[in-house]
Symmetry: C2
């Protein structure tokens, strides 16, 4: 099936063969929605690029990394072909839990970032990709990129990981736990078995509002909102903003996908860092770990630590840092710095 979407690049779908998940299930019939942007002929010479999206992203790369994509840009569509798939478990065309439950009697499989990475192997095989010039992503996409480095059978020249840990910290799991609790407090959740399109609106909005605080920084909120109440009588602007962010996500995302992908983030774990670094060094030419100085979700220090551990294990790892007021979301905002890292990284 091929659908042409607004941005001009066609969206395609691939039904995967059996996927053996890290939790020990073998799952057949999973569908991956993906797009290929750029020049496939040039990519045969210069290599392909593989991009993994973050928690609520999609294969529509221009929607969230637009300024980086195009001829002459860091993700150069005149020199490369770029593959971006919707991650398994998401709700933008790949198989996720809400669609799954309409067609299956068993539960949607629990997926890890390693599973999400492995699902791309049959896709690259299908596309005839022999080597990657670059594999990259931020946040959950960065976790998947780290797993890609460990498991890929497609040689990858550079792996650029933005704002992602090799193992989810207990504090990061805690933020997700609270989001689960907020979603569960909404009776529309029904343990995830709500009728499609009738999910937990208030619970998911609360979860997103919490996530937004962890995606930004106190300093940004201070500069942007201060203690103003200019939007709504008796409501501080920061609260008005967070509620609006909640509403916006509810309108575009499925709660069960959100929960499935949060769980995947909790399960991020590359295992022994020396082994992971050595596995990665056999598959990847250079690993660039990028921290963000104001990130409170996956602090720069976590990135610095795994880069140091990879280096200590002899892997070709390097550390870069984005300086930003914007916190974790800086990899979706600081275009000049992200462009420079992706280009020269």
């Amino acid at each position: 099936m091929t659908t042409t979407i607004a941005t001009g690049w066609p969206t395609r779908e691939l039904v995967l063969g059996d996927l053996a998940t890290a939790q020990g299930r073998v799952v057949g019939g999973l569908r991956l929605r993906y797009r290929v942007l750029g020049d496939v002929a040039a990519a045969a010479e210069n290599g392909w690029i593989l991009v993994f999206h973050a928690l609520t992203g999609s294969s529509e790369l221009e929607a969230w990394w637009g300024p980086l994509v195009g001829p002459g840009r860091a993700l150069d569509t005149s020199r490369h072909a770029i593959v971006a798939a919707n991650l398994l478990g998401s709700c933008y065309g790949s198989t996720g839990p809400t669609e799954w439950k309409t067609q299956h009697s068993d539960a949607f499989p629990e997926l890890t970032p390693e599973d999400l990475a492995r699902a791309h192997l049959p896709l690259l095989d299908h596309l005839g990709v022999q080597r990657l010039a670059l594999a990259t992503g931020g946040s959950l996409g960065g976790m998947v990129a780290l797993q890609w480095g460990r498991v890929t059978s497609v040689p990858t020249a550079r792996l650029v990981v933005f704002a992602a840990p090799t193992a989810a910290s207990p504090q990061a799991i805690g933020w997700n736990a609270v989001q689960r609790m907020a979603i569960e407090a909404d009776p529309a959740w029904q343990g995830g078995l709500y009728p499609t399109g009738h999910g937990p609106v208030a619970g998911l909005a609360a979860a997103r509002a919490l996530a937004m605080i962890t995606y930004r920084s106190g300093a940004e909120f201070q500069a942007r909102f201060g203690r103003q109440s200019s939007r709504s009588e008796g409501v501080f602007d920061v609260e008005h903003y967070l509620r609006r962010q909640g509403d916006k996500l509810v309108a575009r995302f499925d709660a069960a996908s959100y929960v499935a992908l949060m769980r995947a983030m909790d399960l991020q774990e590359v295992g022994d860092l020396t082994v992971a670094a050595q596995d990665t060094a056999r598959r990847v030419g250079r690993v660039i770990g990028v921290g963000i100085d104001s990130d409170i979700l996956y602090p720069a220090t976590e990135v610095r630590e795994w880069v140091a551990a990879y280096q200590a294990a002899g892997a070709p790892a390097e550390y870069r840092e984005i300086a930003s007021l914007y916190g974790h979301d800086a990899f979706l905002i600081e275009w000049d710095q992200v462009d420079r890292i992706l280009r020269d990284g």
Copy 2:
């Protein structure tokens, strides 16, 4: 009414006269539950001590500052008399919203930390307190202490403020906004009009779980929980802990009081810092602002900044810092450091 509680000090109640709130209401008939610990005769010579509790505290001082209270301790019951009242809006004997709605047709008044401080003036008058050796509190109690410095008519030798801002930051308001959203996602909330004892269990638990993350630190969670799942199959220990903290609060606290006091925290604002400092300097001998190096809720830098502003305005303000792994809650954990600051501070 006098009730003797387990710790031996009697609990008493005072019905206040009209309270003119900062939001412009005049409210009569509010009841303040309080306790007096220590030696009233000695206090006539050495001064009284006034303590303000934090969000979910009570007048039962020993329950949360126990190691600091007693003969020869920082809150020396052989040399002072110590007054601790349950804050207005709370659910431990003072008038709060859930009790209010059973007796009134109008809404419970919106209260600020300044209101919570002012409510203590008739209490000290009732007790015949002429001067305070010390007024202190942490978190919300620290906010109330800061307001006390601005408005007290009872001369106060030392004001010791733990981990509290002169104005709630937009990020701190954001954490509270998400907690409100989680509570509202629980239909049992009913806009706060639930039947007494039938409040939003799941929503309040989610709110408390979020608060607990902001009360602690990522480093503590790393040391304490790591990525272990030893308590419950498939559930990380940090999530097990947060859910248990939620359940424990639900069993002991009222949701409408929680919302009312969160709102008070959002409304913390001493106004112009120079004016506030000067008002305080006329009433207070020394102001000690105490930051906690790992506090993510009210970062040490916020405390350092208001202390510097008070100093710049000529107020006798000093900065102290608690070094701790435990984050915001360190003022309830680091007994040696808190004791030293309260004693010599």
